[in-house]
Symmetry: C2
Subunit: 179 residues, 2 copies
Amino acid sequence: MTDNAAPPSDLTFWSFVDYAVRKAEQELPSVNTDAMRMVLTLNRATSMVIYDLESSVHRPRGLTWPGFRVIFALWLAGPMEAKTTAEISGMSRAALSALLNTLERDGLIVRERAAHDRRALQLSLTEAGYGAILGSFRAHNRRESAWAQALEPDERRELVRLLNKLMAGSTDAKAKFRS
Amino acid sequence: MTDNAAPPSDLTFWSFVDYAVRKAEQELPSVNTDAMRMVLTLNRATSMVIYDLESSVHRPRGLTWPGFRVIFALWLAGPMEAKTTAEISGMSRAALSALLNTLERDGLIVRERAAHDRRALQLSLTEAGYGAILGSFRAHNRRESAWAQALEPDERRELVRLLNKLMAGSTDAKAKFRS
DNA sequence: CCCGATTGATCAAAGGTTTGATGATTCTGA
DNA sequence: TCAGAATCATCAAACCTTTGATCAATCGGG
């Protein structure tokens, strides 16, 4: 611990990014501050958006964020096998399996054995599930729109372009993905 | 369900973004696709980065992602009260309380009653905690650097600027934050 | 001064995630 | 054909998170 400038007393989740980058550079001069700032900012911005969506849109309607992701995927790409659902909704098959217990209990989805491969599971939305995703997604999209208004249209496009480029580089970086 | 163009069979976590935006517009013509694409992209890009960091850097070292966030905050801004730690590491006080049990058991942090307010908790890193964050953060930052290389320096700055602007708009959007 | 309101941490119950193991089914190559 | 390998879902244990309740300590207005 090199220095002891007291941390500002008004540090917040968001303002911590700047503070952390400066302080880390003091502690560890070899740090790559550009990369640090980028990842820290990306992570925190996303946390705030998702937390807002989950707590203001989905929880009040009885859905968790992962539950929403699954019925959202089934709405747009379903019916489909559990393996595919796990892949496109971004969770492991084990996590999906646990989550499906809740969604099935709540009557939103149906599990059926696949005809062509008796190991596999075919997932589909029930009528209630269809109703739930329709209502939830509308509210979700209204909330997204409020967030999106902070940027100009071309800024939104640029943000998307940069994130796409970042992901395109992930194979180069040999990133680890969910199995 | 308007149309039944079969979902591409090679849908992945990442390519689902494009598919979902197109399909949602068919299902629900009133959808704000710009906002939808932005939030979906933001969320998925971040998931991939964080999953990679957690699974390739932190878990192998015996840390979870939330555990890392907490000792990272204590490293740079600590010692400090639990309430502040929760705020700047982005979790509720209840979640932090549970998490501290693990970190304390593993000998990385110390809980002490604050002198000036006997309700409050003063948190600090142990020697082991300091060693853990130093080693973990170095590896973490190397991994961040690999990701960051996918963008040009000015693109990284632009990404950060856009995310900052997005967050600046969050108060307008009356976003809900952690209490 | 003191009682009611607020604040800080923790608890409890329900839920989702991880890794690694298990059991069932299907595939593959000799 | 058939035995070993791969694949699919699920389970188990440990962990983190959420909401809402509880308890102790502190603050503030009358």
